[in-house]
């Protein structure tokens, strides 16, 4: 694109013409001390908690500690340009971020400023980053599913719209992958997504954004990135900022899904901030209100009552554990706040079970209310079958002579574990999940070797789409498996089983 010098002059000329000169009346204070991202300001007597203060050069600060003779202020930007004695202005605004459909497809920082180099965001509305969660009357119980696209999660620890489901596990075992898949799974639905990256490497964030873009998920997703190199206050408020963006949809009768990746880093940022503000440290040096920090954030995810538009904000917070220690301070806190957790385990991950969901330790307190009838029908016995399989598998390692029933259970279990595996970036819609689980639980896979199941799954979807597409359509429509559909599925699966075996040279 050619930029003409003349045009630029025109723009500047217009701006000078329109520039309104007015006397600005402001309340000010002076910086007493500054360092480590914290500035102490004398003056600004009428300053409010969480108010934005303006430092010279347009850098903003967040008033966090209001003390008798000074205000403790977290600087949201580069502190190097702030000196002792600088004049600080009150803005009179409580910290807020731009929200709305204009934010979708963009990557912004913790205060909502774009960092993707695609120009200014023309948002019509801004919202306070700290607001009270909807009250008891404003809510409704979670009753509709929010599919994550992962078979292991949707079948056994279902997530409902408005639910908060923790994703917990060690580093590098697919926590982010699971959540990114959940975003991709919202394609062609009415769910808007927010991905909040806290304390991550910029390269990691870039990879996630790229993955989302490649899978066409950026169109309905906002990425809020407060990276490891950003100051602690920005990392702390990024979660709240992202939440405010998600709330916009919730309060407008729409649905949204927010991923906090991850809250342990946010807690660490908040600890840093609190210690620098000289708040007393508690357990693991976290401040006393670290629980409140997470509870008030997650409490804002809700299913809103019909009178208020029946919108919802579903949250998938991520917590990283150290060497599988779920009894550390932050993990226990967040486990107790959320409505269930998906526990990912390194052993499973490295033995090839991906997503590495530990079925025994993962729960969803919302349970069946967040599943459609069809899923309930196939997944009802799945949990039990898997639990029994695990018990038997441990036991069966010692002996070789097993009776028929035991062997049948082992065969079934092995195949169920196998079909719960799923490659990355390939979330499945509900009807496909139900069909493969149906095949697994009804014994259609028992005669096939475990190694061929991935191929079986792939070919089966193609087969049904080409020959019996009505199965998927019916299931989507009715959301349940009635006797007619069951008959049809059984026939189709039997027919496909034959062709598959023949094509693989089995029998």
């Amino acid at each position: 694109m050619q930029i003409k010098a003349e045009e630029i002059s025109q723009i500047i000329k217009g701006q000078i013409k329109d520039y309104e000169s007015k006397v600005d009346l402001s309340e000010t204070g002076t910086v007493i001390s500054v360092g480590d991202g914290i500035a102490r300001v004398h003056g600004v007597e009428n300053c409010m908690a969480m108010e934005l203060l303006e430092f010279p050069g347009g850098i903003l600060g967040l008033a966090l500690n209001l003390e008798e003779d000074n205000v403790g202020c977290a600087v949201l930007g580069d502190v190097r340009h702030i000196k002792e004695g600088d004049i600080v202005k009150r803005t009179g605004k409580i910290a807020e971020v731009p929200v709305g459909p204009e934010m979708e497809g963009r990557v912004v920082d913790g205060v909502g400023a774009p960092i993707d180099g695609q120009g200014a965001i023309d948002a019509k509305e801004t919202r306070k980053i700290e607001v009270l969660a909807p009250g008891v009357i404003a809510r409704k119980s979670v009753h509709e599913p929010c599919y994550t696209g992962a078979k292991a999660v949707d079948a056994m620890t279902p997530v409902g719209r408005g639910q908060r489901e923790l994703v917990i596990g060690d580093r590098q075992i697919g926590k982010t992958a699971l959540c990114v898949d959940a975003i991709i799974a919202q394609k062609n639905t009415d769910v808007h997504c927010v991905y909040v990256a806290i304390g991550q490497k910029k390269s990691t964030v870039a990879l996630v954004v790229e993955a989302l873009r490649k899978n066409g998920a950026m169109d309905y997703t906002t990425v809020v990135a407060a990276c490891a190199s950003d100051p602690a206050p920005l990392q702390y408020i990024a979660a709240f900022a992202g939440c405010a963006m998600g709330e916009y949809f919730r309060d407008n009768g729409q649905h949204s899904l927010i991923i906090y990746d991850d809250l342990s880093k946010q807690a660490v940022a908040y600890r840093e901030l609190s210690l620098l503000l000289r708040r007393p440290p508690g357990r693991e040096a976290f401040p006393g209100d670290i629980f409140f920090n997470h509870s008030r954030l997650l409490e804002r995810s809700a299913k809103v009552s019909d009178e208020l538009g029946a919108g919802s904000l579903t949250a998938l917070p991520i917590i990283e554990t150290q060497a599988g220690d779920v009894s550390a301070f932050i993990p226990t806190n967040v486990i107790s706040i959320t409505d269930g957790q998906v526990y990912l385990e390194p052993n499973l991950f490295f033995s090839g079970v991906r997503p590495a969901v530990n079925v025994g330790l993962s729960v969803s307190r919302v349970g069946g209310a967040a599943q459609c009838k069809a899923m309930k029908q196939v997944a009802g016995t799945l949990r039990l079958d898997l639990a029994q399989y695990r018990e038997l598998a441990a036991f069966a390692q010692f002996g070789s002579d097993l009776d028929k029933a035991t062997q049948a259970q082992l065969t079934r279990g092995e195949r169920l574990v196998e079909i719960l595996k799923q490659p990355q970036y390939q979330p499945l819609p509900m009807e496909k999940q139900v069909t493969i689980l149906f095949a697994g639980t009804k014994g259609f896979l028992d005669s096939l070797p475990v190694g061929s199941l991935a191929e079986y799954e792939k070919q089966m979807y193609e087969y049904i789409e080409q020959n019996e597409a009505s199965i998927f359509d019916d299931m989507r429509e009715k959301q349940e498996i009635d006797s007619a559909l069951e008959e049809k599925m059984k026939n189709t699966l039997t027919a496909f089983g034959e062709t598959f075996k023949a094509s693989m040279g089995l029998n």
């Binding site: 701006q15 009346l25 402001s26 003779d69």
Partner: protein
Amino acid sequence: MKNTILAKRYAKALFAVGKELGAFDEYTRALGEISELYSTSPEVRDALTNPMYPVDVRGKVMEHLVQLLKTSQEMSNFLNLLVQKKRADVLPDIAEVFQAMVDEDRNVCKGTVVSATALSAELQTKVQATLEKITSKTVELKSEVDPSIIGGIIAKVGDLVLDGSIKTQLAGLKESINGSV
């Protein structure tokens, strides 16, 4: 700045005494003179605050100073007490806080008006009247001349700043052009 809490305590006590006796002006003068002395001659400050000298020696220095100041009995008691309690170093802070308390009590606040060229008396009264209207307090205005603001005026009262200078407006214009291009 670290001594503000201390200074407040002492100033509050002194203020209470002053209010009873109606001797604010007298106290303000005495405190002002000593803090002036502190800044102009560091030796005096040293003699009063350096822990190397025994407390009774420092006390004598203060007694001597008090005599020179020719101040009331209460004020001299206060100054001697400060030295005895080893708090003589807070004195300038106390003077500042005390001044603020007296101003508050009299519903007066101090203000400055900065302009590029000296203001006429008429303009100054006008500024003063405006500031008094905003703060609803009597404003004691001090005027300063600073050619670097180019034109217009900046008026400050307490934390409140009314900035109508050309310099600020130019900076604002610069920012608005930088921000949107």
